[in-house]
């Protein structure tokens, strides 16, 4: 198809009839500025070919001229095959359609609409036909760089064209349906990653199998426990049988009786031996006691003799110690007398030093009293001055409020007088030279010209010539106002106690000066008598002076009471003492303190000597007392011994005790021999221990047997109970059911596994086959596109999907595919146009040429790329008609091709 004519009238900006001049095969280029109507022509072309002439769509309404009374008329001529066709359609008003072929009308009205669609292989619609490949190849403004999406009809047409060449490869709708169904079935079973899907039959079968397996394992574990219980029960039953063997038990009891008899006989022999040994011990004790009594008496006799010798020696020692003590006492008395003398001297020296210190302190305190007295006098004077100034201030000052009241009253008076004066007649007196000094105004001579407001009667005397009295008109209100203002002023002055405002202000200035003086006096007073806390400064000074005087008086009194200053004055009376100067007093004090130190040293030495002598006397006295105590103790011991056994009885008693000791010893020896004989008859400890062990062993064995039998009986009962309980639970039956359930679940899972595997295989095989088919299917498109693509991107290849959508491009054999959406705007536009051109070329080469119309395309291309795109367009135009509408006249200067222009038809025909 080649468009050969396009004329419009009443369309968009074309009210009158306009025609596109120059249309023909190959590359057609319409360069016109914005608002020239290029896009309007594009839409008019679409309307003429695809729209029913009677439709009233919004798109068609926008096509008409604003406020136009004429219909929108479009005329399109095209060549298809060898025939020339002309379409005339009128829209909106006076609608109509007519199709002519080679100059003859072949259809009109609705038939013409549909005949056009039939010619162009378009699917009919209610108001507009599906534009099919025209929709793909006719690119409206601002759409050239979008990823195109062919309509189903366009895809079907492209598919038909290609499949005519490569055969039916995609499987069509049936293939889609099968794949969809397989995917749906698989989706019910598995996730996208091929794992069992939650809630799906596959996962359910797995879960059922796992649950059955777990149930069986649990039951088998319980069964194993039960079986273990059965084994344990069998073992216990065997144990019970063995433990209940009566013959073995009887033999054990007989052995026990024999061993017990042997043990008892040995115990009895041991008891008899123990009794004999007890008697032996008693005899031995009796003999030992007799021996001890004899020995004790012998010892007493010897101790009495030793005590008597000791007492004699101690008496001699005491006499010697007494003599030494007497000599030491005499020495001590002498030294104590010397110490008393030294103590008296020390006391005297200390008193002299104390007096010297007091005299020095009295002199210092007297100076302090003097200084305080001076400050107090000055402070009192300052206080009196301050009081005086304060009284003067109080007398002089006028309150600020009073001054302000005076000022207010005065201003009110002035205002009232001004008002009255303003209303008063103005009297102007201008004396002439001859009248100088002859004119009086209210008695005052007027020498120069004068203007007076006559607020009151005014008398002007002109020498003797005349008296002129000027009486102002009565103005009672103003007079009253002046009078009231005047009274207010007088009242304010009275209140302030002054005669005038100037006096009041002068009083305030004077008061301010007095106040400054008072503050100076206060500062001086504060420096002379500073306040102490809350206490007034003068009071504090007075207190300090009184305290200092009291201290001086006390010191003076003490000094006066000193022996070397004693006088006849009454105690407590302050007396002025004539003291030497401070240095003399200090020297006296130092001399007195040195004499005191010497006396104190001598006294300390004497004290030490007395102490030593006293210690010697005490030591000797202590020794004497110790000797006396020893003598007393020896005498007491001697007395005790004689009390126990007097000298007269001692010899007889010694003889009797020796005989008793010999007799007790004989009895002990007899008892010892008897005990030894009985002990020899007792079995040895080893024999007795072995017998005891046998008894113990047999007793334990019998008890253990009985206890074990009881335990076994209890264990048997417990196991029987547990087994019976387990048996009642139907474990075996449940296990058999679980085995069956597991087998059933495994069988179901195996079937499901097989089904899923088959579906997965089928899906994979279909997808792989479709991919291979798609590659084959798209090969012609890629072949058609390759020359164009390489013109811009040498070595590049485009990735297409079977629906003719573009996924991206790779810029070399090994280069990765760059997704279409990530390309720059310019590249996207160029690639999109190239794909469209390629599809157009594909159709053209297969006998179905469709013009390519690009409205304002290549807006994003740089200079280099746009040149190469012109080459592409030129090359594409060799196979099909390409119509380019653009406003970029300069950029498209080198595009070449057939230039188009929009001209009024009268000019075109001309």
């Amino acid at each position: 198809m080649i468009i050969t004519r396009l004329a419009v009238e009443g369309v968009g900006r074309f009210r009158s009839r306009h025609v596109v001049q120059g249309l023909g095969p190959g590359l057609n280029l319409l360069c016109a500025p914005n608002e020239a109507g290029k896009s309007t022509l594009f839409r008019a072309l679409q309307a003429a070919l695809f729209a029913r002439h009677g439709s009233k769509t919004e798109e068609l309404r926008r096509l008409g001229c604003l406020d136009a009374e004429v219909p929108a008329s479009i005329e399109v001529g095209f060549r298809r095959g060898e025939a020339e066709y002309l379409v005339r359609k009128s829209f909106l008003r006076g609608t109509g359609a007519k199709l002519s072929r080679d100059g003859s009308v072949v259809a009109e009205g609705r038939a013409a609409d549909e005949k056009i669609w039939e010619l162009l292989d378009l699917a009919p619609g209610a108001s507009i036909a599906e534009p099919s490949t025209f929709g793909l190849l006719w690119v409206p403004q601002a759409k050239s760089f979008d990823a195109y999406e062919p309509s189903p009809e366009a895809k079907a047409l492209l598919g038909r064209v290609i499949e005519a060449e490569v055969g039916q490869v995609l499987g069509g709708e049936r293939g889609e349906r099968v794949l969809r169904s397989v995917c749906e079935r698989l989706a019910r079973e598995a996730t996208a990653t091929g794992q069992p899907k939650a809630g799906g039959p596959w996962r359910t079968a797995i879960e059922r199998r796992d649950a059955a397996k777990a149930e069986l394992a649990a039951l088998q574990a319980t069964m194993a426990t039960l079986e273990a219980d059965r084994a344990a029960l069998a073992g216990l039953l065997r144990q019970r049988e063995a433990l209940s063997d009566t013959s073995a038990l009887a033999a054990m009891r007989a052995d026990l009786a024999t061993a017990a008899a042997e043990r008892d006989a040995a115990a009895r022999a041991d008891h008899a031996a123990q009794q004999a040994e007890t008697e032996q011990a008693q005899r031995e004790l009796t003999a030992e006691r007799a021996r001890k009594r004899h020995e004790e008496l012998v010892g007493l006799d010897q101790r009495i003799a030793r005590r008597r010798e000791q007492i004699a020696a101690l008496d001699r020692q005491l006499a010697e110690q007494t003599n030494v003590l007497d000599a030491q006492a005499t020495v001590l008395s002498t030294k104590e007398q010397a110490l008393a003398n030294l103590a008296a001297k020390l006391s005297e020296a200390e008193r002299a030093a104390d007096r010297a210190r007091r005299r020095e302190a009295s002199a210092r305190d007297a100076e302090h009293v003097e200084e305080l007295s001076v400050r107090l006098t000055k402070a009192r004077r300052l206080r009196d001055d301050i009081a005086r100034v304060k009284q003067a201030i109080e007398r002089t000052t006028v309150p600020m409020e009073a001054v302000k009241a005076i000022e207010t009253a005065r201003r009110a008076l002035e205002a009232a007088e001004a008002r009255r004066e303003a209303k008063a007649p103005r009297v102007i007196v201008r004396p002439r030279p001859a009248g100088a000094g002859k004119i009086l105004c209210d008695g005052a001579p007027v020498t120069e010209g004068r203007e007076v407001a006559a607020t009151a009667p005014l008398l002007i005397t002109v020498a003797d010539l005349a008296e002129i009295e000027i009486k102002p008109a009565a103005s009672p209100d103003d007079d009253a106002a002046v009078e009231i203002a005047r009274e207010n002023l007088a009242k304010a002055l009275r209140t302030a106690g002054v005669a005038s405002l100037a006096e009041a202000q002068e009083c305030r200035a004077k008061a301010a000066d007095l106040e400054a003086e008072r503050r100076g006096l206060l500062a001086e007073l504060s420096a002379t008598a500073p306040a102490v806390g809350k206490e007034d400064g003068i009071a504090a000074l007075e207190r300090q002076l009184a305290t200092a005087k009291a201290a001086l008086d006390a010191l003076t009194a003490d000094t006066d009471r000193a022996p070397d200053h004693a006088s006849g004055d009454t105690p407590g009376e302050t007396k002025k003492i004539a003291l030497p100067d401070r240095e003399t007093l200090a020297r006296e004090r130092i001399a007195a303190e040195a004499a005191c130190d010497l006396a104190r040293h001598a006294h300390r030495t004497a004290q030490e000597m007395v102490s030593t002598a006293r210690e010697q006397v005490a030591a000797t006295r202590f020794m004497c007392k110790g000797t006396e105590a020893q003598i007393a103790e020896a005498n007491r011991a001697l007395r005790d011994g004689l009390v126990l056994c007097p000298d007269a009885e001692r010899a007889d008693r010694l003889t009797a005790l020796a005989a008793a000791a010999g007799e007790a010893r004989v009895l002990f020896e007899a008892a010892r021999e008897k005990a030894a004989a009985l002990r020899a008859a007792v079995p040895t400890a080893e024999v007795r221990a072995a017998t005891e062990a046998r008894v113990k062993r047999l007793t334990g064995a019998i008890e253990t047997n009985e206890r074990r039998l009881g335990e076994v009986e209890r264990d048997i009962a417990a196991l029987q109970g547990r087994i019976a309980t387990r048996g009642g639970e139907g474990l075996g039956e449940r296990e058999a059911e679980a085995v069956d359930a597991l087998a059933l679940a495994e069988s179901e899972l195996a079937r499901t596994d097989r089904r899923v595997a088959a579906l997965k295989l089928l899906k994979t095989t279909i997808e792989e086959s479709r991919q291979a088919a798609a590659d084959q299917f798209l090969a012609p498109v890629k072949t058609a596109m390759r020359p164009y693509l390489h013109a811009l991107f040498p070595g590049a290849d485009a990735a297409l999907d079977p629906r003719f959508g573009i996924d991206g491009i790779s810029r070399g054999a090994a280069a990765a595919i760059e997704p279409f959406v990530s390309l720059s705007d310019g590249t996207r536009e160029q690639v999109a146009i190239i794909v469209r051109l390629a599809l157009g070329r594909l159709l053209a080469e297969r006998g179905n040429p469709v013009p390519v119309v690009l409205d304002d395309a290549l807006v994003f291309s740089d200079d280099d790329r746009i040149e190469r795109m012109f080459d592409v367009l030129t090359r594409a135009a060799e196979k099909q008609q390409v119509i380019v509408l653009t406003c970029r006249s300069r950029a498209f200067l080198t595009c070449g091709g057939r230039p188009l222009s929009i001209v009024p038809e009268d000019l075109s025909s001309g």
Binding site: V178, G727, L762
Partner: protein, 372 residues
């Protein structure tokens, strides 16, 4: 002397593999007890000898334990002699102590020891109860030395595998070997055996009764009990198998090459196992079919499943796509290529059998989807 010999009731067997038919199969085993009782009453047999495995498990539930008691209670004129088998051996605190604790009626005797028991005035019963699941000794050996009053019929009752069967492998379920010549060695007039689920004559005086209600394929077609007549001591018994079961259990195996042959198989099944509604059928199909034929087989099996009581189909049918099968998928295009790919994969001998089977399944799924 007339008695009924039965064994291997295995009450409590779950049959869960049979899905919703399990309950009916469980009930049929209890119904068989009543059928045996009716047989004994009808034939005037005063004793029913149950040669072991009364229960399927030695720890059944209480209801399962009581169920056969209640069935036997309905035949007070018949004395039921129960013997522990390898499924329900007598062990301390075991099933038979629980059984006795339930207080069964007097006409039910459980033989837990080897003590001889009188079967009326003319016969003595010698028993060999199992006390474990797998007994290594031949417990019937003691029959040889067991004295009975002269002139009395000696009847043995035992559960286990006759020795020669055990040698072969798995015909007897476990050890518990029994000398097949025991009847002659112990001078028995009849030895009633249990364990093998198929009626079998070991010798003139030694029989396995089989189970009264089958529970597996490839064993016993229908439940049977034996009616035994022993004229007198030393005389040969007369043994008559009698049907007491409800369902027929059959295994059929066919080799198939075309779907049209299925009609003939169906006719044979209806003739052999009438009525089909009582047939528990294991149907094994081998061979190869076209995809059309495979689809027809699936439909035929569906119909057969509806006709029989239970159908366990075991299919080992290879799919052999024919030209019209592939054309039915598509003449050209993706689907046709997918079909060709899967067909080649199914025929690829380098792949495992499982992989080829999966390819056949996928191809069949494609066929069903494409022709739906």
């Amino acid at each position: 002397m007339r008695l009924v010999h039965t064994a291997d009731w295995q009450i409590g067997k779950p049959f869960l593999r049979f899905g919703d038919k399990a309950e009916a199969l469980r009930a049929a085993r209890l119904d068989a007890i009543e059928a045996i009782g009716r047989l004994a009453v009808a034939e005037g047999a005063g004793h029913v000898l149950v040669a072991g495995d009364v229960y399927d498990s030695e720890t059944p539930s209480n209801v399962t334990l009581r169920a056969p008691i209640e069935r036997m209670r309905g035949f007070p004129g018949v004395t039921w002699h129960l013997l522990p088998g390898n499924h329900d051996p007598h062990r301390p605190a075991g099933i038979w102590e629980r059984f006795s604790a339930l207080g069964p009626p007097a006409n039910i005797l459980v033989h837990l020891t080897a003590e001889p028991v009188d079967l009326g005035p003319e016969a003595v019963l010698l028993t060999a109860p199992l006390t474990s699941k797998a007994e290594t000794r031949d417990l019937t050996a003691r029959f040889d030395d067991t004295e009975t009053p002269a002139g009395k019929i000696r009847v043995g009752l035992a559960h286990g595998a006759v020795t020669r069967f055990g040698v072969k492998g798995d015909e007897g379920e476990a050890g518990n070997q029994i000398d097949p010549t025991r009847a002659e060695r112990a001078n028995l007039d009849y030895l009633a055996l249990g364990d093998w689920h198929r009626t079998c004559e070991i010798g003139a005086k030694t029989w396995y009764s089989g189970t009264p209600e089958p529970d597996r394929f490839d064993s016993q077609t229908v439940g049977t009990a034996l009616l035994v007549d022993i004229p007198q001591a030393g005389a040969a018994p007369t043994v008559t198998p009698r049907t007491v079961g409800t369902y027929r259990w059959a295994s059929e195996s066919v080799e198939i090459g075309e779907a049209e042959a299925l009609a003939a198989h169906e006719a044979a099944l209806r003739q052999t196992h009438d009525p089909l509604s009582r047939l528990v059928l294991k149907f094994c199909v081998r061979g190869a079919l076209s995809m059309v034929g495979r689809q027809a087989l699936a439909e035929w099996l569906e119909r057969l499943e509806a006709a029989v009581f239970y159908l366990a189909a075991d299919l080992a049918v290879r799919v052999r796509p024919e030209a019209n099968d592939l054309e039915a998928i598509d003449f050209d295009g993706v689907l046709r290529r997918v079909a060709e790919t899967l067909k080649a994969r199914a025929a690829d001998e380098t792949l495992t059998l499982d992989e080829r089977t999966i390819a056949e399944d996928a191809l069949m799924a494609l066929y069903l989807e494409a022709t739906a």
